[in-house]
Amino acid sequence: MQYPTNKEKANKVAVCGVLTALALIFSYVEVLLPLPLGIPGIKLGLANIVILAAIYTVGPKYAFSINAVRVCMAALLFGSVFSAIYAMCGALVSFAGMVLLKKTGLFSPAGVSMAGGVLHNLGQLGVACTIMETAGVMYYFPVLLFSGMACGAGIGILATIILRRIHRMPA
């Protein structure tokens, strides 16, 4: 009985490694494709395809590690210390929200992703509010909310298509 579980674990760890690499590539592509919304720093959230797929396949615990490694490495490779704090808060809020929504069992992956996109942007807005000590940042709340929804839902639909294809994968 010991052997198969070990093998299963090794399998999972290997899958996580591949997913982390994939998420990092998406993070990089994202840096190359900024959204022209008049606010610097809004991203498509492409890496969330991988994080979402990970939550549904290998589970939230592994997905969290993938996300944490992804954010740290992306900050080291393509960003500054400053953008890292920003990105981490967005990623944390978004991840927590997505896991909670998934747990309720009421939402589809696309719905979970939509909420994740919104929370990611609003998490970053919260950081900006705190750092700047001004609520004036709220001017950008609607743009961030709507762009987060649109991107999150789009990413979620892509993730759903992917999940349908890989759900036979050993989990």
């Binding site: 720093g41 939509m114 001004t134 709220m138 001017y139 929804m149």
Partner: protein, 124 residues
């Protein structure tokens, strides 16, 4: 593990409708139509200056390490130059409506447009 991944469920639609409603409510509160009149510069949580948009002016904010150059011309404000990492503040472009903000996060600097005397602006 027979998952059926549906694209959208009822709860998703309800959540989306709620978010859209919230977005419009905030939009309604924050985006008033009239043009603003003052650019208020706040650094490290303290207001360091307000400049009328009607008067063309170049404002240099320099404390020895952090440098930002704010340009006010033709009734709008924009960040022309900065020595911050990322240069995001320059990317905000021109702002002229009450509530609009230029942020320079690395320098803890914000430029906010307020209406007449700042009475109808979002409070700090």
């Amino acid at each position: 593990m027979e998952h059926k991944y549906t694209f959208f469920k009822k709860a998703d639609i309800v959540l989306a409708a709620g978010l859209i409603a919230l977005g419009f409510v905030v939009l309604w509160f924050t985006h008033s139509a009239q043009a603003g009149s003052l650019a208020v510069v706040v650094k490290d949580g303290k207001t360091i200056g307000s400049y009328p948009l009607a008067i063309d002016k170049t404002v240099e904010i320099d404390n020895g390490t952090d440098r930002n150059v704010l340009v006010i011309e033709n009734g709008s404000a924009r960040m022309q130059e900065a020595n911050c990492s990322g240069q995001d503040c320059i990317g905000f472009g021109r702002i002229d409506k009450p509530g609009q903000v230029i942020l320079c996060l690395p320098h803890k600097l914000s430029v906010t447009i307020t209406g007449e005397g700042g009475s109808d602006a979002i409070s700090y």
